[in-house]
Amino acid sequence: MKRRKLLKILSLTACLAIAAVPSFTKAASSEPIKVGILHSLSGTMAISETSLKDVALMTIEEINKNGGVMGRQIEAVVVDPASNWPLFAEKARQLLSQDKVAVVFGCWTSVSRKSVLPVFEELNGLLFYPVQYEGEEMQKNVFYTGAAPNQQAIPAVEYLMSKEGGGATRFFLLGTDYVYPRTTNKILRAFLHAKGVQDSDIAEVYTPFGHSDYQTIVADVKKFAQGGKTAVISTINGDSNVPFYKELGNQGIKATDVPVVAFSVGEEELRGIDAKPLAGHLAAWNYFMSLRNPVNTAFKKEWAAYVQAHNLPGGDKRVTNDPMEATYVGIHMWKQAVEKAGTTNVDKVIEAAYGQKFNAPCGFELELDANHHLHKPVFIGEIRPDGQFSVVWKTKGPVRAQPWSPYIPGNESKPDHLTVVPLLPVDHGTDTATAQDVGR
């Protein structure tokens, strides 16, 4: 009897509390703008995506503190798609049609992005996707703030082939078996062919998700390296990297003999591992936490303060990484576009977003191109024993993205930028120069 009464009282107060919140906000001069955050907070991808949710909330807090967007506060709606690809689509639909969010920041794996695409097209939503990916996509409803292959994979291979990078002549392409590594390796193989590397000097090996026994593969790498200077190009995803590098170190392969360059290993992934066996191996990104410039210093300070203020797990060991920077840049780009358009209407915001510029923590002023990708600088970093990277090579400036890789046949006829919406007079004259810069 008593319990029932208690429940009644509790639910009554809860109802009152819920009812009270909107009435308060309505009383304010203008309603807050709702934005959706669609990152897995449980399941296998939680390891990577949780910090993107955190950094998105931090950025929103920062924008709100500085007066919001067009004088309106931003209100984040956080949902958890639980590393479940169909659930991503469901949650995206919920965000767009029920919560009526103006924009969504989210997704990590390519398969989650592919699963939400139809929803964003159907409901004409707007998604900012912050992770490096395989390219071959240019959707009107998506802005890609991570790297396309020519902003990460191809410069990395060029570096390995150069004298400075060790002059590799044989390449061991090793990846987890899903769409990103397969497509990236397809592009890389075509690129290597164009550079005169024979098929006999390229090995391509895949492992299942969560693979943990790399004994045979490391023995294969050793055997392959007998034929000449070898480099391993790793698209291994997530925590499989740890057993791989451990095995490499224990079987006596040093970074000076066979360097491994990874496209999915960043500061956040290294936080969970003893990085000593990895020291000297390489990673290619568009941002490293160790970059020294005033914007990055401020960004890191803001992040550390946010972690402390909200008592996030990990505490002072929390780091920043490339997708976090891309999330941060994405939210600011959206804010600038909304302010330019004077509305949150998706079509108008997309139009206004072209040509937006933002001083990013990577140390450069990044521009959002009409091809829906950012111009980004490329850095090659060497893993240090403390889990940070020291930059050993970088491009002179930001590189324009080529989402349709010229190394995949049939892409020549694909549009260079989206023509669905009329283009603004953005000066593309300088862009072509940077695009050719990649070919170096």
């Binding site: 895949y206 492992t207 299942p208 969560g210 007998q226 990990g314 060497e382």
Partner: protein, 537 residues
């Protein structure tokens, strides 16, 4: 001792420098080291190597140990502890350690520094230093050191080192203008049989564009061909031994993961979907012990795994005991409900760990004695952590077998699982036996987790990746038998490693599953079926 070594090497330097023409190094020569430009940096290092005096040795040693730093105005200094020294005068300078940045080398420069340093140490008075230098160069031959190697070869008296120097010489002499020397070199390389050196011999047998062989002397070609054949055989042997070791290693990991399940599922008959989470608890216990050592007993950090073994056993055993008392006790005889409730418990445990420790993996480092490996053949290194885990698996299996077959608790467990009512009639408190047996099985799983933390990741999802493999090993071996689980796990490990080189890791996994399905069709009760055992629960 060290000083005399230094002076001797200095004398040697002057000898080399006398040949190449001594160049004095100035501070300006070193400035490019601090710059970002790779070409300038590499030329500066070349100048240092070429100058070949004691300054060069000091600089190269410091570069090799990553102890060279630079101030903001590109003055290069050597850091020793908290004091900074001028590399040319070797005198301490007043610059504070906080004002300098370490000089970053990349892999190709690091390799060059290391090989130059080895070249300079080939005639060091200390035998161990010489041996290390020779081995380093044998691993990564550097043709530019030919003169140094020849000089060292003519002076070396130690027969073992002399032999190794001959081989080292052979690696650089394949392009010698004298055919007799080339022949000798090819023969020496053949004797060493290191498949790593195939790349040096292969070009000799190739034909140029005009159809003539790259190597003009047929005798040298024949010797190179023989050497390549010997290497191919050696490589075949290495692959055989390597595959066998990899299979046994994977098998012992599966065994450690499955052994706890062999007791809880195999003997007691509880379908425990939370088994993987006991592994996880054991691994997190290991992590906590490591952190405790790091904070309080930093000197003994290398020995934390020894303390982690009993802790992880107890942690998982207590968790198992609580699970049995609170949940399983109420569900005996209802396998479906047991399965569902333990699955629920596993989700609760995973999410709890995620809340407490965060979704990120935690860092469990191998102690130094478990890092690296032992080279049993050229180009075949068996990692220490895998060897340690094999031995540990043997010990755990032995302990489990002893407890089950030689102790009173083991007797009670066997009696209860064979005939519960009869055992109860004989005065065994069967509910107590159930609790202890389950806790023991969970504890063994905790030991497995402790071992797995040394080889893979420690994160909330750790258990999920092993639960299926564990069930496979137990079912394949035959439910109710420890021996069955051992054979099942080792068999699974060996079969997957034998298949993997041919079909790749993805197909190998599928093939193993198909094989198991076929096998269970033929022998539904596994390899070691218990005869006449009544299915009780």
């Amino acid at each position: 001792m060290r000083r005399s070594l230094c002076t001797l090497t200095v004398i040697m330097f002057w000898m080399i420098a006398g040949v190449s023409g001594a160049v004095g190094l100035t501070a300006d020569d070193l400035k490019p080291l601090a710059e970002d430009d790779f070409d300038a940096k590499s030329q500066a290092i070349d100048r240092v190597i070429a100058s070949g005096n004691d300054v060069a040795l000091r600089l190269l040693e410091a570069l090799n140990k990553e102890r060279v730093v630079a101030t903001d105005d590109d003055t290069v200094l050597i850091q020793e502890g908290n004091t900074l020294k001028d590399p040319i005068t070797n005198a301490p300078v007043s610059t504070a350690a906080s004002e300098v940045q370490p000089i970053a080398l990349n892999n190709s420069l690091r390799a060059r520094v290391a090989s130059a340093l080895s070249g300079l140490r080939l005639q060091a008075p200390d035998r161990a230093v010489r041996a290390r230098a020779i081995d380093a160069l044998l691993h990564g031959p550097d043709p530019s050191l030919k003169a140094e190697i020849e000089a060292a070869r003519s002076k070396e008296l130690d027969p073992v080192l002399k032999n190794r120097l001959d081989q080292l010489w052979a690696l650089t002499a394949l392009q010698d203008p004298d055919p007799a020397k080339r022949l000798q070199a090819a023969q020496l390389i053949g004797q060493r049989k290191d498949p790593q050196m195939r790349g040096l011999l292969l070009p000799l047998l190739e034909k140029n564009k005009d159809g003539a062989y790259a190597e003009s002397d047929p005798k040298v070609r024949a010797a190179a061909g023989d050497a390549l054949k010997a290497m191919a055989f050696e490589q075949w042997q290495i692959e055989m031994v390597g595959t066998l070791f990899a299979g046994l290693s994977l098998g012992s990991i599966l065994l450690l993961a499955a052994l706890g399940l062999a007791i809880t599922y195999g003997l007691i008959g509880v379908i425990n979907m939370a088994h993987g989470e006991f592994l996880m608890i054991g691994a997190y216990a290991t992590y906590l012990v490591q952190e405790f050592f790091r904070r309080n007993l930093a000197g003994a950090l290398d020995w934390y795994p020894l303390a982690a073994v009993p802790v992880s056993f107890m942690a998982a055993a207590i968790a198992g005991f609580i699970l049995e008392r609170l949940v399983l006790r109420l569900l005996y005889g209802r396998p479906l409900e047991t399965l569902l409730s333990t699955f629920g418990v596993s989700l609760v445990l995973i999410q709890t760990v995620r809340v407490v420790f965060g979704a990120q993996n935690v860092q469990v480092a191998n102690p130094s004695w478990m890092s690296g490996g032992v080279a049993i053949m050229p180009n075949l290194i068996l990692p220490f952590n895998r060897i340690a885990i094999m031995i540990f698996a043997l010990l755990v299996v032995g302990t489990a077998a002893l407890v089950l077959n030689r102790t009173r608790l083991g007797l009670f467990i066997r009696a209860t699982t064979q005939n519960r009512r009869m055992a109860a009639c004989c005065g065994i408190r069967t509910w107590k036996v159930d609790s202890y047996a389950f806790a023991f099985g969970a504890g063994i799983a905790g030991l497995g987790g402790c071992a797995l933390s040394q080889i893979g990741n420690v994160g909330p999802d750790l258990g999920q990746s092993y639960i299926i493999d564990s069930f496979m090993a137990v079912v394949l071996g035959g439910v109710g038998q420890l021996a069955g689980t051992i054979v099942g796990a080792m068999g699974l490990g060996l079969v997957s490693k034998v298949i993997e080189p041919f079909w790749g890791a993805v197909l190998a996994k599928i093939a193993v599953l198909v094989l198991i399905v076929l096998f269970i069709q033929k022998r539904p009760r596994g390899l070691f079926a218990l005869k006449g055992r009544s299915v009780e629960i």
